[in-house]
Every structure is written in structure tokens, then in C-alpha cells.
Symmetry: C2
Subunit: 350 residues, 2 copies
């Protein structure tokens, strides 16, 4: 800018006025400066601007990882919404740990706000941040006792949809396959459980060891061979959950994620059970391939992209208007009925 000012024979302030359109400036000067800037290939330094204005156009995003497609789709929505208003995503992956460090480092970089879609559950940290008036929007993750913005799928409704679906199709003894830590710890799964139970009072709870990431798995099983993909990870975990069972006393299972559902189907097949003839299975997420599996998987499609979009928009609003009351936005999920929950009626008329 100094250089341009010199070339145009004006002050830096005037250059600024020409470039920004702010303030009073003569038309001819403006043109001349703009012309010189253009010719010089001038591009503003966003760091310097951010420093002075205390606004960087940077949004910090925290996710556990993006291999699981779930967070990837969310992120697509977030990035899209932010790109539309010329903001940038500063992305970090917590991989089930170090979440607070990462958030701190994002704040050090002077992000304008945070979108947190992660898994830890210590509210104190975020309480302090909210007291400091750091704009935060949580995605799909209700921090207990925290009065903050939230955008999520209506998980209760998802539980209801699947419950009603199974009931309509004639299933009567369903199980709810979950991780050891939930439903107490993970709000979304808790909500699904409540919705599901509102349809099936007698639903049983099946649990298996918590699996978040390859790193985490490696920590928990230091000597086991490292699974290469998330699918393999789930397969190990689900197999472990079925082992202690004496026979398989359920006629259907609501698995919390499609990965678990597919792993379960594999485990059931290995145990000599047919899906859906002996056991119906439904998942949650509608991953890309669930239409191609054998059997194809009945599942819930969450409006992930939309959630990301809304979360980003909400955050931008809050940055503009820090005093907005905190609100939760729950978007409706959609049932995708496929073969893995084929009606019992069908199997009883061979």
C-alpha cells in the first residue's frame, strides 16, 4: 500500500479510501489509485486487516475426524455457507482427544467464532468460553447444562420413525445397539433411545465397547493389530458385543450408526442368522453405500449438509449480534426403508 501511495503521489489513507470505498475521495484520484493497484497486482494482507479490525473472517471448526462421512457431510455444508460470505474454515480434528488444546489454538489465531462438532463432554471449558462471549455453535452435540446454540437432527423423531417402522413391519422384540458410553453420555443417542422407547416400551439395550477412532482403539488395545479402516474397527467391536449373548433373543436391532449396522449384519450372518428373515436391522445415517449392501440397509437420513449450513449461518448471526438468545435447532430426519427390515409377514409366507 505504501508503494502504491508513493506511485500515485498520495497518502496511504487515500489509497485505503480508494480500495475500500470508505470515506470521501475524489473520483479522479480514486480511479488513478485503483488503476495503479490493479497494475501492481496488489492484494490486501488479511492478517493485517484482521489484526486491526479484530475480525479475521476465520471460523474455527472442530470435528473428531472426517473419515466417517458423517462429519464430512456436515463440513461440506459449513464450508459452503462460509464460502458464500467470503469466510474461511480453519479445520482441526480432535481424534477423540486434545479438543481443548485445539480450540485454544484456534482462538489464538483469532477466529471470529467456533463450530464444534465433537465428542467430549466436560461443560466447564465451554462454559468459560461462553462467558468470555466467544461465539460458538455446537453441532449435533448437546453439552449438558450448557446454554448454547445447537443445530442437530431431531434424534428423538429419528428414534420414533425407526420404532414405528419396525412395529409396522411386525417386529416385536427389538434391541437398541449402542456404545458402552451412551446413551447416558451422548445426547443424540439418548434422544434416539427415548424416541424408540416411546414406541417400544420393551426395547432392550445392547452395548459394545466404545470405538471412536483408530488412534483411540490403538490406545485401548495396544497389542491388537491396527484396523485400517473404520469399518474394520466396528467389526471388531460388534463381534465383541455379541459374544456374551446366549443365542440371539431379539427379532430386530436398531444400530446407532450404519457402520455398526453393517458390522452387525456380518456378525449375525457369521452366527448363522439371516437378515432380515431372522433378524431385522436398521441403522442411522444413510451412508453412501447403504443402498448397495446385502441386504440393503433401512436407515435414517440426517440432513447433514443442511445442519452444517444452518450452523454456519447461525454462527455468523451470533458474531454480528452477540446478545442473541441461545437456541436449539432440530431438523427433521427422513426414513429410508430398504430390505434389511423387510416385513415379518413376508418371511412367514415362503
Amino acid at each position: 500500500m505504501d508503494e502504491i501511495a508513493r506511485q500515485a503521489g498520495v497518502s496511504k489513507t487515500t489509497v485505503y479510501r480508494a480500495l475500500s470505498g470508505q470515506g470521501r475521495i475524489g473520483e479522479s484520484t480514486r480511479r488513478r489509485v485503483l488503476d495503479i493497484a490493479e497494475r501492481a497486482g496488489y492484494r490486501p494482507n488479511r492478517l493485517a486487516r484482521g489484526l486491526r479490525r479484530a475480525r479475521t473472517g476465520l471460523i474455527g471448526v472442530v470435528v473428531p475426524g472426517i473419515e466417517g462421512q458423517f462429519y464430512a457431510r456436515l463440513l461440506e455444508g459449513v464450508e459452503k455457507a462460509l464460502q458464500d460470505v467470503d469466510h474461511r474454515v480453519l479445520l482441526t480434528m480432535s481424534r477423540g482427544q486434545r479438543e481443548y488444546e485445539l480450540v485454544e489454538s484456534l482462538l489464538d489465531m483469532q477466529v471470529d467464532g467456533l463450530i464444534v462438532a465433537s465428542e467430549t463432554d466436560e461443560p466447564e471449558f465451554y462454559t468459560r468460553l461462553l462467558e468470555r462471549r466467544v461465539p460458538i455453535v455446537f453441532i449435533d452435540r448437546e453439552v449438558p447444562g450448557l446454554h448454547a446454540d445447537l443445530v442437530a437432527t431431531d434424534h428423538f423423531q429419528g428414534g420414533v420413525l425407526l420404532g414405528e417402522h419396525l412395529r409396522e413391519r411386525g417386529y416385536r422384540r427389538p434391541a437398541f445397539l449402542s456404545m458402552t458410553d451412551s446413551p447416558r453420555r451422548i445426547g443424540s443417542v439418548e434422544d434416539r433411545w427415548c424416541g424408540f422407547r416411546s414406541v417400544f416400551r420393551n426395547a432392550a439395550l445392547l452395548e459394545f465397547p466404545f470405538v471412536a477412532s483408530a488412534e483411540r482403539y490403538q490406545e485401548d488395545h495396544p497389542e491388537a493389530p491396527q484396523p485400517e479402516t473404520f469399518s474394520e474397527l466396528c467389526r471388531h467391536a460388534v463381534a465383541g458385543a455379541l459374544e456374551p449373548l446366549d443365542g440371539f433373543p431379539y427379532d430386530s436391532v436398531f444400530a446407532q450408526y450404519d457402520h455398526f449396522a453393517l458390522a452387525l449384519i456380518d456378525a449375525l450372518k457369521a452366527a448363522g442368522l439371516r437378515v432380515p428373515e431372522d433378524v431385522g436391522v436398521v441403522g442411522f445415517d444413510d451412508h453412501d453405500f447403504t443402498g448397495y449392501t446385502e441386504p440393503s440397509l433401512t436407515t435414517i437420513r440426517q440432513p447433514l449438509r443442511e445442519i452444517g449450513l444452518q450452523a454456519a449461518r447461525r454462527l455468523l448471526e451470533r458474531i454480528e449480534e452477540p446478545d442473541l438468545p441461545a437456541a436449539a435447532l432440530r431438523l427433521p430426519p427422513r426414513l429410508i426403508a430398504r430390505r434389511s427390515s423387510e416385513p415379518l409377514a413376508a418371511k412367514e409366507q415362503p
Copy 2:
């Protein structure tokens, strides 16, 4: 920092020396300053530091999108490697357009370097950037005529592996299913084609309309209903590619991505053909679900995470040492043999 200096009764310079460990400073002063800073919850402003040092610890990353799992896994590797050295990822998604604008905006933010894993192919833009000595590492994308760092799968080798696999299993009339734009435009697919042809001289080339993203699809087919997932997108495209065919004259198909492979299998089934009995199908990528599909999919597992890691490391090296000669790193892929390419021998002995 001024505040801390005041409280400690020293100058800002001294505070800096205490905090950074740089320069000469008395032990007692150091302790006192550190103590006060700790108590005040001081955190350095990375913007200011970046401005002064011309080093931000920010790395710009450009990908088309991350729903397709391919870029998601790459990104996992990149983020991991950068996190280890306390750098952050500034993520942008080009969605098949606006790539240059995005790169410019990343540079405005004073990123230390760029990792580009995207799809456009105009070398001029990047030539200029390289002349300006902007550190760039390309991922899985050879820009023609550009002498730059590259990290990729050894696609030629991948083509060879699949070719040999099909030949060993008895297939003789293979087709190479690709997008209209390739293999001329996309280097990786071109390489696979060469590798595949080095095994099967008579391999045929099947093409279908290019599909990159929902946005792009919508542009090309403004009045068609918007597919909701990438799978659906591929299904439309592949179906279109098979339509003009008179019968199906091939005994096997090498589809360039697992998504295409699965879409193809669906299309073949719909046409009354059995996979792998009538037609063997192999894919490329080893997506998360390809072990669960019916039939399970033979494919190539690319070391995506590793590619991301190496690319990030390479970029860091180049940032430190801008005069390094440009190099291409091609990592070996791995064949994952599954049912979709079951030996012909098996089908001929019923």
C-alpha cells in the same frame, strides 16, 4: 503483553524474552514475568506474530469436496501431519469451480504454503505461483508441464495390478470405464489406463459423462431432479453410459472409482447380467463399504492417509528450504481381491 509488562514493571521486550525463551534475560525476571502471564491467562495473538514474522503456521488446502471419502482420507493425513508440528489447515472446497479465487484468498490470508488436490488443469495459474516461489505440493494430480512437487498413488502400478488380477482369474475382454474427460485430462486415470493396457492390449474404453459434484450435475442438467448423494449421481451417469450399448460385449470392467463400480453393478443387474458370473467388476479406492456390498468389490486400496501425510511433510520441507528440487513421490497401491471378480473357472464348473 503491554499489560503484563506493566504489572511486572519491565518492558514489553523483556516480557517477550521471557515468553519466547529468546535472548538474554535474568532468571528471576523470567520467572516473575512467566508467573504473571500465567496468572493473567495470557495467550499470544498468532495474527500479530504472523504479520511480523511472515510465517503464520497456516497451510491452505484445496480439495473439490470431501463427501467422496477419497479427499476426506487425504485430508486426515494432511491434518495429522500438520497438527503434529502445530500448524493449522485452512480448508477450502472448490466444488469443481472457483479454484483460483480460493487459492488467491488463501494467499491473502498469508498461508505459508498450499496443498492442492483438485481437478482443474490450467497450468498457467500455478506456473505463476511457482515463479513467485509460493510453496505448493500437489496431491494426486499431475499438472501437465508443471515442474512441481507431487505426491500420489502409483496409478500405473494400480492399473497393472488390476489387469494382472483379471487376467489371472481368466478374464479376456475387459473394458475400462472412465469419465468422458479422461484419460486425456486426468493424469491419474491416464496412468491407470496405461498400466492396464500394458497387461491387456485389447482393453476397450467405455466412457460416460463427467460427474464431479451435485452442483456441477445441476449445471449440466438444469431441469433434472437433484440427486441427493454422490452415489445417486453416479448411478445416473453410469446408466447413461450403458444405454447406447448393444448387449454387453465385455467380460469384465475396470471402473475408475468404487462409486462407479457399484453403480455399474446395479446397472448390470438391472440389465439381467450376473456379477461376477457374467461380468467381473473391479473398482478403485477401497471405500469403507466395499466389503459389504453384494457382491463384495475387488478394488485397489490407495494409501490415501499416507499420501496426505507425505504431502504435508514435503510442503513443510519446501517452506523451510524453498530451493529444493521438485520431486514426485508415488506410493504403491494394494490390491484388495473380493468376490466381484471371482475366477471364471469357478463359474464354468457349476
